[in-house]
Symmetry: C2
Subunit: 187 residues, 2 copies
Amino acid sequence: MCQLFPYAELVTRWLEPEQQRAWRAYVRMQGELNAHLSRQMSVDSDISMPDFAVLVQLTDTSDGRVRVLELARQMHWEKSRISHHVARMEKRGLVRRENCGSDGRGSFVVLTELGRSAIEAAAPAHAEIVRALVFDQLSEAEVQALHDISEKIFTRLTTGECASVIARCDADDPVEVVPEESGCPEA
Amino acid sequence: MCQLFPYAELVTRWLEPEQQRAWRAYVRMQGELNAHLSRQMSVDSDISMPDFAVLVQLTDTSDGRVRVLELARQMHWEKSRISHHVARMEKRGLVRRENCGSDGRGSFVVLTELGRSAIEAAAPAHAEIVRALVFDQLSEAEVQALHDISEKIFTRLTTGECASVIARCDADDPVEVVPEESGCPEA
DNA sequence: CCAACCTGGATGATGTGTCAACTATTCCCG
DNA sequence: CGGGAATAGTTGACACATCATCCAGGTTGG
């Protein structure tokens, strides 16, 4: 009755006991949190989390228009993912594609009015639920720890031999991670 | 150039600055880590992460056979998810379905030899990569913090008004979370 | 016994993510 | 200028997740 979750036996045998407890707790939490945020988003607005993420990027630019691959790079998505997703969003009127005059192969993704109102409607509830589910549970020290832990792992992921996905999108540019407090491992 | 990631403006306006930093770092890390683990798993073995999770559950039982909904409950998956996934795995020979004698509607999911050897082949590399990507980056204190943070959020997710998904599978039984060191918030 | 209901599970539609291949442009170099 | 090579983006096939719906086998109350 202790195998509430995967990784009970096989995996965690090669991790220290505290490590395996932490890993199982993390994986489980992360899965539930993602599911919960997605569901909540699609319940109290008409968009999904991926829609939301795209719309945020567009909202962040002054003119609400971004080149497709630029979007991919900012979001750490692969180009086919962004392409497919933009196609779906276009079908629903959340964005629109426009040809790029200066580069014949390129195109812009442009925020529509519908898209703008959709994200404005969705954002407050999302922020609220993140606060309620995550930050209301944590002390200041834990918030700091969450940040540091995330940065360390992320840095490891985008450094050295394992930059795979990311490498597909920004090729030469290793990845724009602000060191900020690296204390970077030997890898 | 600071909008490396979603949630830059719209969302995080309603979180404290340190909270928004932590949230963005977490979301980004979590996305990359999931992607990386999945890719790695399918590169150096013939199974996916979801396959792996199912196989772990089966391996954990003495006889390698579990009722479908029991599996769903253990993994916090919804029944249709497990049903679809088992169907795909069956097609590849990793598991097999067997009718349940004592209950005419029920069926067991049974680990096959192929399934057993698949997970035995996949597990070491997976454990190794988790260690390398995660635990090699963290101090003991951080491992502890990761555990505590995850537990707090998970507890909040599975307590009170927001037990939605989970509620779909274990109905009456609120959820089997061992308190273990709750220090549970007022929620 | 049988009708209403509940439960275990399967199914189909749709949205999403990944990979591999493809097209069309632009760039670069001779 | 011309012919690769790189770049921007699309497409199709497939794996995966969710939802709503369905069905068959149990359970219960009359």
